[in-house]
Amino acid sequence: MSKFRIVHYINQFYAGIGGEDKADVQPEKRDGIVGPGMAFRGALADVAEIVGTVFCGDNYMNDHSEEACATVLEMIRSYQPDLVLVGPAFNAGRYGMACGMVAKMVDENLHIPVVGGIYEENPGADMYRRYAYFVPTTNAASGMRKAVPEMAAMVKKVLAGEEIRDGYLKKGLRQNYFAEERGSKRAVDMLLKKINGEEFVTEYPMPVFDRVEPQPAIKDITKARIALVSSGGPVPKGNPDHIESSSASKFGKYCLKDIDDFTPENGQTAHGGYDPVYANQDLDRVLPLDVVKEMVRDGEIGSLHDYWYATVGNGTAVASAKKFAAAIAEQLLADHVDGVILTST
């Protein structure tokens, strides 16, 4: 029997093209294996073969998604694959989004299965999980050795047409199956357990939407007090609080009273994962302090909170971000701030 054909989608970094300085490269394809596909070769050897690898810069994919996806789709189609493998993206946000977008395009246009690897908190996971069998990975690339065999096993199951119930981030699709007992019996059993205070597992979990109601608009911005917050890592030159370039464990609070304009001498970004050159040249590109100060002076904005707050969003756990934001919000409320401009990179 001939082997199944797989196309692998990866980013510019894993393709060996380069890091952040190459994140703008346009989609390209190469016959056969590039980068991490090598690790999959052994695991898939008897069943499938990676016949082509398609890659694209993460920035290009996210900034020109429509055009980039269309090109990537045609490149994938040209290999006539039976399955598409994406990532693993771990907790790299833009790479995760890229893998998700590719999965969606393939699912909707080529109607072939997609297998990927992603960290559960990666924003791409939540957005695109329904389009692929995303095997949950660790948050960092050091988990590659664990991710590859699990993804390969998933590929084999999918290609074999096996019924797959676990081992991936739930797609949110309903699956039919034959239960041992009829529904009425299961429902009553569940009810009895509930009444007895025992543990039970629902068969129909309700979706959790963690949404916050929009706060009312500011009536008159020329009388309002505004604060600046950023997850793009804007810090004073030297990063005095040593905020980590990824998986930040803290946020910083910095006085902005004496700064009217950021320069290479007074500001920098602490953020990893994107090319810091532009932010380090002029941090106003991340935190628009220069124009905000002018607008306060000209009366366009009522007043400005005396501090800016900064952390690094790169790979930072949702729980940490929540904790930072709660602490920041308390301080803003204490200073009677009316509204917040929050920038992200």
Binding site: N59, R94, R211, Q215, I226, S231, P276, R285, T311, S344
Partner: protein
């Protein structure tokens, strides 16, 4: 972070480049920005033009803060 600050009672405008991420995390007022490494600038422009671009984006953010919304809203124009 956007959501948590808003939960504490302050309107937040999220200025970011990857709008789908902002929508996923649940920001209510979103202003799309220029590019990931320089959301509020553009090194290809001369400094005066770049500052003007930034001023326009901040004005848009201020407008967003002054706009009543009932659901997630992306301020594109």
């Amino acid at each position: 972070m956007v959501k948590e600050i808003e939960r504490h009672g302050l309107p937040v405008v999220h200025m970011c480049t990857v709008v789908p991420i902002s929508l996923t995390v649940g920001a209510n007022r979103i202003v799309p920005t220029v590019a990931i490494p320089y959301p509020l600038g553009n090194p290809a422009l001369d400094p005066a033009e770049e500052k003007e671009l930034r001023r326009k984006l901040v004005r848009k953010a201020l407008r967003a803060l002054q706009t009543e919304v009932t659901e997630q809203t992306v301020f594109t124009d």
